[in-house]
Subunit: 240 residues, 6 copies
């Protein structure tokens, strides 16, 4: 039994609210327990230089936290004139994960930028960002379809993410902040709705981990991602 | 009658939700119609150099907008490596307004930083920031009193703000985005609960304005600020 | 009687020297007592993106102080990699004030940049910048007319600015540094030659202020701006 | 058979030259085929704020590439005023990997910074950086032991890294640039000398991957890391 | 005969106005013809880290140009977030030149910063900066002596600078902008009042130069520096 | 006799290795004793704005040091968000020196960027950069000739550089770090293969210097540059 009453393989309560902000083409508030992330997808009719004139589109992500999303206040990036390296790392992960399920030819030569802004953090902000970002991305793409700008939704299949880890030598799912900061191993799994991997990032924080432990963690991740996929589908069907 | 059905001297619906984010010492979501600003007050046990060793405290504000708070996406400040000059101007205004009602000796040698993050913008973000920021500031101070860190709440009196302006040669209150972008004159009034001014900033955008028009605008502002003061008091009494 | 012998509604000695620097299209040294600002207006045959292809021009301002314009040395902006927020605020005010009296269609698709560089500061640098910047702007525009690049001077009417304030509970005009740093209320009024307002910015530094006090301050401002208008006209007639 | 004649599970020729640069406490040139990285470990008698006064040390890494380490020239970070997000991501990985095998109490309150500068890139720069960085770190620590500044080498066990991937649906080891840029899946495994994981990062670039494929890749990684461990030990014994 | 009527070895008219700005410890406006530079020397009771606790002082310089000191407007450094490399180079030269004649032990553990701000440029801004900067430095030091903060003026001997060059295969002195931009060779000589060199920097712009030409240029420089030394002494005796 | 056994007019052992890095159009490792600089020349089919549409090319240089090229670690420029002023000064010198021997019309409208990255520093890094940079530049140009992109190698004549100085009142050649940091005078001479000057920069660090001493230093420089020219020619003939 975990400190908040969850079983080892149990996720926190997940809520996905679509249409959260009125301006973006796709907008979602996703909550993994007390972690709250606003995911806004913007369509822009231009692409970065390396994609130009290829007929293909581009999907990218930006990730940031409000200064007081956390227990103590973090200075804004602009005050330090440097993007936080942690944010840089996370937004690259989110971008790769979303690109991994998107057919860039169907999207056509335009960009979708998914802004993930954490307004309250309690562990799992990157996995919530991927899971919510996917819904915002899907909805923004669907708007392009509905407006007959593109023919078919370029999203090939669902993608979601969950953190799993080893805490007190037990494998647990969806670590909240207290668990995360004391975990021995922390692994983020990004999975498609059909149970394959888009990305895995596992880190031994306090100790190394064996292949056996890796497999146990991945099994937990698979179960949780199945649940997240259901919630995403439900949110999308409501959000359209 | 205005395009959204309001009378010329009528504010939009204002909501103040306290305890919005769980970590900050004071946290408020303030809504002026579709404008939504998260105001988080943080207490830090240090002061900037110019206040050090004076026994006095400091209150400051930071203001920012999510990239997609607006109709088209704005690049983040960190992407341009420059704080938006508009944000710089606004956060100085918010900071001065809040300092104007705070007794720095009672606060003691510590800082309160009020972060105003606009998650959805529809005009009046700076006046909403001052109005909501005041509530967050008050609550953070009260927490210091409750924890017996300071004896008395250093907030001397209430402060709130409203925009008034001239639109189609008529004086109107609390301009939403559509009105604001077509206004002839735009004036932000920051007022205390007893009807005095902390700051006024009036700008002729499309034309100049006369003293008579100034007085008419200030009269509208006074009425609206009276209403805002009531809502602030109500929110504070619930929030404590 | 004020510490420098002035009456409450008396400005310091104002000098406007045209043709101060040889390269710019319009160049002015303006002195408000010991405050000295070089105002250089540059014509550039391009406009910022938001004006492009509208047939209209643009007027903007930049404001800076030499490191030793003040009693103690200020680090240069470039050393801190940040424009001083105070400078950002002031240059936005100067830009808005000058745009307020300029007909952008008559200017045509070109920009005028007015650089205001304070070489010696003694209070009132922003009002001196507006007052001198106007003269530089006018002269630069006139050069365009003389060169038959545009038909008519796009400046619609004169604009100038003065600071007024409350000091020891008395309303005074054109605060020098010593007065400014101890003022209870500080108000900058930007006025046209026909006595209307382009912008007002009033701030209670030490205390709030009433409508009655506001009107008294504006009355002082009106008187001073009348005098400044005369001096501007004289300088322009000499400078052409 | 791969385009350069290697078998699927065969690494490129690896060379580790110790004492490469004369100034650093530990200095290594590591070559994975045509990939060449200078790894320099510096001991500094200070620690970052979050470790201060804990009696513990800190290990961190910085990663950069010469502008012409690659086929086309990359602008220097300083020209863009931004650290490349890819570099930020990699140096966090290198730092975590090295910290993962270091006993910070034995190191005492000092820092070791491992600079990994890629002078020639041909795929696998991050795994070469970890593998070479470990040797530089070990040698720098040993110098502290030899100088009797610390009692025992704080390095707990060896760590090395290799990239594995799926290319034309086959699992291959140690991808060179041509393979890497066409790989379907790319996985970097950081392993201890006893066959456990410190970190794994797997990314589906062109397609997703299954658990079975993951296990096949990890098996390849394990084999390669065994070989790298041998080479590291040999280099260290020569380098001391 | 040169285009402005000067002989080959003739300087432009040089003016040195002391006490130009009221706040700095030493303040000079120096004019080399149409080149005008404000040189302000500031005394600060602190030293940079590399001098700390040595009992010695430090002298440094900063150099900048107003945006419109030149024929076309230059963007401010802060707009580009980079100090102009040319300015960086010049301020290092000015700093070295002034340090070269200053006894740091006599100065004691304090800094003198000499700000050279070019308000109008017409060639020779760096040599004017050194020549005027010296006078500002001397006066600031003398103020320290007069205030009995130090016993003796730490300036060991006079230093001044002049540009010489080869233009149309003739050696000329003190190049103005038109000459400078078409010169074949450009040499800046920094000399003491007793005819020795503190620094020489000669550059073949359009062609290389021989030792014989070098000697001819240095002979011109020596003559001009003799004259500048006289003017500096005169200015100092008036300025004290 | 010098501390490392050299005679006063003797250079350290110089090695020039061509083809050092495989990607650049010209690549050289140059060693002046323990000073090691990688000089990579890159051809880019574009020119900076000031050369555009002139039919002429451009040659520029960038200079940087690895953090641990020196005895103590230097922070990277990107950590401080400022290019080191010393590097800015040096890369301007290297660029001017290489441009001085290059016929820009023969190069045609393209750029050559010469990156000089110091991997180990022991004095004379700027002179090694010029000497090695020249070889890299020549080889890159020759590649353009061989590929029939241009008709003739635009390099007009050889250029190399050496430092000379006054140490213990004796004139010495090619100062290593220990000598450099204690030298009284330091002069860098950039010379063509026919014995003319492209640039000279002489600085009195501890004291001033006379014309006689200058001539003695230049005589030493001439001798050393003759030797460097031979080594450059040899390297080029091998490198082609």
């Amino acid at each position: 039994m975990r400190f908040d009453g969850r079983k080892n393989d149990e996720m926190r309560k997940v809520n996905i609210t679509t249409g959260y902000i009125k301006h973006p083409e796709g907008s979602v508030l996703i909550e993994f327990g007390d972690t709250k992330v606003i995911c806004n997808a913007t369509v822009e009719e231009k692409v970065p230089p390396h994609v130009k004139d290829t007929g293909k589109g581009w999907v990218t992500a930006e990730y940031s936290m409000l200064p007081r999303a956390t227990g103590t206040r973090n200075q804004r990036d602009i005050s330090k004139l440097k993007i936080s390296p942690r944010s840089a790392e996370i937004q690259r992960l989110v971008g790769r994960s979303l690109r991994g399920v998107c057919d860039m030819e169907k999207l056509g030569e335009r960009s979708i930028i998914v802004d993930c802004d954490v307004i309250q953090a309690d562990g799992g902000t990157r996995t919530a960002s991927i899971t919510g970002g996917y819904v915002a991305l899907y909805l923004a793409c669907q708007k392009l379809v509905d407006a007959k700008i593109i023919k078919e939704n370029p999203v090939k299949c669902g993608v979601c993410a969950v953190s799993v880890g080893i805490y007190n030598d037990e494998v647990i799912t969806d670590l909240c902040y207290v668990e995360d900061s004391n975990a021995q191993v922390d692994l983020n799994a990004v999975m498609t709705e059909d149970g394959n991997f888009v990305e895995i990032q596992g880190t031994g924080e306090g100790r190394t981990f064996s292949e056996e432990e890796l497999l146990k963690m991945l099994s937990n991740a698979k179960k949780a991602c199945g649940e997240l996929t259901m919630l995403q589908k439900e949110a999308i069907s409501k959000g359209i």
